[in-house]
Symmetry: C2
Subunit: 526 residues, 2 copies
C-alpha cells in the first residue's frame, strides 16, 4: 500500500481483543462493560541510559557541588540537626546555622544509602521497587485546587481527595500516592493529614508519601501504614511502607520543619527523597550546569544528614529543575531546559548509586494540547534519564496549583504508552516471521495469515483514550475531542471502582488512632 | 522555595526579550508586532544514538531481509527496470517480474550511495543537509483534505495549498516542503503538479519533494527547481535541488509508476528516499522484528535499483512502520510500536551508512491532546533513532487524510522545543556559576544577580504557543486553550508573511515552462 492512510478495502474482520486486560468483562451484547487498561505491572526500563553530558562535564558539576558544600555551606535551621552535623565532623557556624562539609565526609555518608529498596503497602502485590531499572509512577501531590470540565475549578476538599484516591487505586499505571493529591482545605489544618492518610489507606491499597512538615505528621503516616499492614514499627523499619519528599528552600536552606520531618523519617527508617525545587533564574543561576551543581549540593546534603541520623536509611536523589519565563517570572515546566535537567540529573544520581526521582509537570492552565506536549517533554526526559520515581506523574496541571481529573486521564494514557514502549521485543525465528512473509503474496495483506491470527490479541497496545475511528464515524458520534473523552473515562472509572477490602479490626484500629491523635493535636501535642 | 508553583512575591521585573529572534520588531507601544520564533538554523543532534535492539538483534533482522531478497524476491512492475536488474546480476523471472538479489550484490550497490549530501533550493541559505547528525523537518504531504477551526473540514484546493506554503516559508522550523501539502482537487489531475511546484517556488524559497508517480512529474519538478536557481540540469545533477519519496506497495511490490519515477530521479541524480509504508498486521506480520526485516528488504531493494541506474545517486533510507488497530483494521500512529520502529530503523540505516527518514504522524481526528501525545511519541522515536528527515513533521492530522492549520502550529511548537533540547550546553566556569551561587544568600533569589542579568535574554526557549500566565490572568483573557490559540497564530503568521523576491526573468521562465508543459500534457505527452 502507498504512503497514505489505509483505506476501507483493507479492513479486516472485526475482532474482539481478549482477556490479557484486567477488569474486562463482556456484557450480553458483546460490548466490553469495563474500561480497558494495562494490568498492574512492575515497570522496568530495559534500554540504555541516555547521557547528554560527557563524563568530564558530570565531574565538573560534581566538583562545583563539592565546592558549594565545602566553601559556601547550607543553612540548616534546626539546632538538633546542626548538633548532629557537628558530631559527624561537619563545620557548623552556630550563629548562622551554616553547615559546611568536606567532600570526603559527603562521599562517605552518601555511600551508606542503599542502591535499591522496596516499599510494601498493605497489599503486598502493590509493593514498589526503587533503584536499578525500576520505574514508579506517582499521583500528583500538593495542589490547593481541583478542576474538572463539568464542575470547573474549585478549592481542594475531601470529596475530591477521595475520588482521586479511588482513581489512583483503579488505574494500574499509578503505583504510589504522593503527598496530598489535593489539599482538603475545609478541614482543620493541623489534623488534615490524619484524614488524608486514612483516605489513602481505606480507598486504596497503595503506598503513599507522608507529609514531612515537622515530626508529628511524618510519624502519623508511618504509624497508620504500620497499622494497616498489621506490622509493628520494628517490622516497618525493616520493610518500609511509606516514603516522603523533603523539599529544600533553595538556594541552600533547609528549614526547621523539613529537618524535623527528615529526622523522624530517618529514625523510623522510612525512605526519604530529597528534592531541591529549583527554577533556573529564580532559585538558581540561569545556566543549567550551575543549577545542577546547586541542586546536587543540596540533595547530597539532605541525604548525608539522613545518613548521620540513621545510617542505611533508604534515600532517593530528587531533581525538580525547570526554568522561569524571564519576561514575567512565571514558572515554566516541560521546557527543553526541564527535559535536559531530567536527563543530566539521572547521570548525577547514578554517579552516587542512588535511586532517582523526577516529575511530570506542565504550566498549562487547561488539560489541553499544551499540557500534553509539556508533559511529554518531562516524561521523556524522566525515562531517558533513568528515573525510578516519576512523581506528579498523573493529574498535575497549572504549575502544580490544580489537580485535574481530565489531565489524570491524559497522563494515564501517556504513561501506558510509555510502559508499552519500555516492554522489550523478543527477536527470534517466530517474531522474525520469514515464513509469514513467504506466505503472503506481493501486494497482499497479513490479516488472515496464521502468524497474525495467533498473535493479534496481544500484538499491540490497546489505548484507554485514543480514538482511531475514521473521521466520518468520529464526527457522526459527536466529534468528541480527547479532553472531553477524558471526562467520560474518569466518571466511568469512578463507577467501576471497587473499594479494596480491609479487615474490620484494622479499620477500627486506624479509626481509634485517628481519634486519639486528633484529640492530642487539639490539646497542643505535636 | 518549596516544591510548589512559584508565588507572586518572587516576581522579577518584567523584562522584554531582545533581538536574537528573527522577524521581530517592536511597535511604538513597546509591544512585539511579530510572532516570536526561533531563527532559521541548521539543526543537528549532538547526543548519542539510542539503541534498543542489540547488535545481534539488528544482525538477525538484516539476515532475514537478505533471505527475503535472496529467496522470496520483490515484484518489480517495470520491464525496463527488470532488464536493468538482470544486467546488474539479479535473478529476474520475466513472467512474474519477481526479482531476487543475493546479499553480496545488495551490499555492493547500497555502498555506492553517499553517507551525506546537501540539497540547495533557490535560496542557498535554505540548503538542507542529509546524513550524519543533521535533522530536517518537512511539511505534511499528501492529504486530500484540509481543516481549520473556523472553516471546518473541506477538500484540498489551491488557495489552502498556497497558504500552507506561505506558512512553511514563514516558520523557520520547517526546512523542506513535502509532496503536495494538500491535493488541490479542483485542478486537472494530470497537470496539478505544475501548479503546486510553481506555488512552492513562488511562495517559498525552500526545497521540495517531487511527485514521482511516473517520469513526467518527477522531471517537471527538477526542471522547475533548476530554472528557479538559474541552474542547468547538469548543475542540478552536481548540486541537487529537489528530492522525492518512492513508496513501496508493501508487501514486496514496486509498481510501474514508482519505478519510472525512481528511474527519472536517479538519471537526474536527485536524491531519492525509498519508504516502505508498512502497518504491522496489515502490510507486514504483526511482530515488529518481521515488519522491520520486510521494510529493510524493500528499502534496500529500491536503493539498489537506483544505484544500478545511476551509481552514487544520493539516497535516504525511509521507515514508516506503525500498526493497525486489530479490532477495526484502522491505522494507528504515534503508538509505542511506531516509536520503537523509528528507533530500530535508525539502527538499521546506520548499519548501511545511509541518511534516514521517519515521520511525525497521528491518527487523531482533531488537533487535540491525542494528536499531541501521538506526535510526541513519533517525534521522540525519530530523534532518538537519529532521523535525518522527519517527513510530515508539521500539519499532519487524521492518519494523513487532512492537513490541519492548527496542528501545524502545535507541531511547530513541538519541533522548536525539540530544536532547543538538541542545543548542547557548554559546561565551563561561567556556566557553572559558582560565584553567582556564592553571591546569593541562602533562601534568596537570582533575579537581580549580574550572572542572571547578563544572560536572561537568551537563557531559555521562548515558546510560540505556550501560555505560562497565572490561571486568573489566563481566565480573565478568555481561557483560550492551546488549539484555539493556534488559530490566532496561523492567521497572524499569514498576515506577517512576506513573499520571497524572485527575479522577473526567472518568474517568466517558470511561467513559460508551465504553459508549455500544460499544453504538451493536454496533447497526450508524458
Amino acid at each position: 500500500m502507498s504512503d497514505q492512510a489505509m483505506t476501507a478495502q483493507d479492513e479486516p474482520q472485526r475482532v474482539v481483543r481478549a482477556s490479557e486486560r484486567r477488569r474486562r468483562s463482556v456484557s450480553g451484547r458483546g460490548q466490553p462493560t469495563h474500561l480497558v487498561q494495562l494490568p498492574w505491572r512492575r515497570v522496568t526500563n530495559p534500554y540504555p541510559k541516555y547521557e547528554i553530558y560527557s563524563a568530564d562535564q558530570i565531574e565538573a558539576i560534581h566538583n562545583t557541588s563539592m565546592r558549594i558544600l565545602e566553601e559556601l555551606g547550607i543553612e540548616l535551621m534546626s539546632a538538633s540537626a546542626c548538633a548532629r552535623m557537628t558530631k559527624a565532623g561537619a563545620q557548623v557556624d552556630r550563629s548562622t546555622m551554616n553547615v559546611r562539609m568536606d567532600r570526603g565526609l559527603v562521599a562517605e555518608l552518601v555511600a551508606k544509602a542503599p542502591p535499591t529498596f522496596t516499599i510494601v503497602p498493605r497489599n503486598p502485590e502493590h509493593a514498589v521497587h526503587f533503584g536499578g531499572n525500576d520505574v514508579i509512577f506517582g499521583l500528583v501531590a500538593g495542589p490547593p485546587n481541583v478542576h474538572d470540565r463539568e464542575r470547573g475549578r474549585r478549592s481542594g476538599n475531601l470529596n475530591d481527595y477521595r475520588d482521586f484516591i479511588r482513581l489512583a487505586h483503579y488505574f494500574n499505571a499509578i503505583h504510589i500516592i504522593g503527598n496530598q493529591v489535593v489539599a482538603p482545605v475545609e478541614l482543620q489544618a493541623n489534623t488534615r493529614h490524619l484524614d488524608t492518610y486514612l483516605t489513602n489507606l481505606v480507598y486504596s491499597d497503595l503506598s503513599f508519601h507522608c507529609t514531612s512538615i515537622g515530626r508529628g505528621r511524618a510519624t502519623d503516616g508511618a504509624r497508620m501504614m504500620a497499622i494497616s499492614r498489621g506490622s509493628t514499627m520494628e517490622e516497618l523499619a525493616k520493610v518500609p511502607g511509606v516514603t516522603t519528599i523533603i523539599s529544600v528552600n533553595s538556594p541552600r536552606r533547609f528549614d526547621e520543619a523539613m529537618a524535623d520531618g527528615l529526622t523522624a523519617m530517618a529514625e523510623m527508617r522510612q525512605p526519604i527523597c530529597v528534592t531541591p525545587f529549583t527554577l533556573l533564574g529564580a532559585m538558581t543561576p540561569v545556566t543549567l550546569p550551575a543549577a545542577l551543581a546547586q541542586q546536587n549540593a543540596e540533595a547530597l546534603f539532605g541525604i548525608a544528614l539522613a545518613q548521620i541520623i540513621s545510617p542505611g536509611t533508604p534515600m532517593v536523589y530528587g531533581s525538580f529543575t525547570s526554568n522561569v519565563d524571564m519576561k514575567s517570572g512565571a514558572p515554566a515546566f516541560g521546557t527543553p531546559e526541564n527535559t535536559k535537567a531530567n536527563i543530566v540529573s539521572g547521570q548525577l544520581a547514578r554517579r552516587y548509586k542512588l535511586p532517582y526521582r523526577t516529575s511530570n509537570p506542565t504550566a498549562s492552565n487547561a488539560a489541553d494540547a499544551q499540557s500534553v506536549y509539556e508533559t511529554e517533554m518531562s516524561l521523556w526526559g524522566s525515562i531517558l534519564g533513568g528515573s525510578n520515581l516519576v512523581y506528579h506523574a498523573a493529574g498535575w496541571l497549572e504549575g502544580g496549583l490544580t489537580a485535574s481529573y481530565e489531565k489524570l486521564i491524559l497522563d494515564i494514557e501517556m504513561l501506558q504508552n510509555m510502559m508499552e514502549f519500555l516492554r522489550p521485543d523478543e527477536v527470534n525465528d517466530e517474531t522474525l516471521g520469514f515464513e509469514a512473509i513467504r506466505r503472503v503474496p506481493t501486494g497482499g495483506h497479513f490479516f488472515g495469515d496464521p502468524h497474525t491470527l495467533e498473535r493479534y490479541e496481544r500484538a499491540f497496545y490497546q489505548p484507554l483514550l485514543s480514538d482511531w475511528r475514521q473521521y466520518e464515524n468520529w464526527a457522526d458520534a459527536g466529534a468528541v475531542d480527547a479532553s472531553a473523552r477524558a471526562t467520560e473515562i474518569w466518571k466511568r472509572a469512578l463507577k467501576e471502582y471497587v473499594e479494596p477490602p480491609m479487615d474490620k479490626a484494622i479499620r477500627d484500629e486506624l479509626d481509634a488512632y485517628v481519634a486519639k491523635r486528633r484529640e492530642e493535636i487539639g490539646s497542643g501535642e505535636p
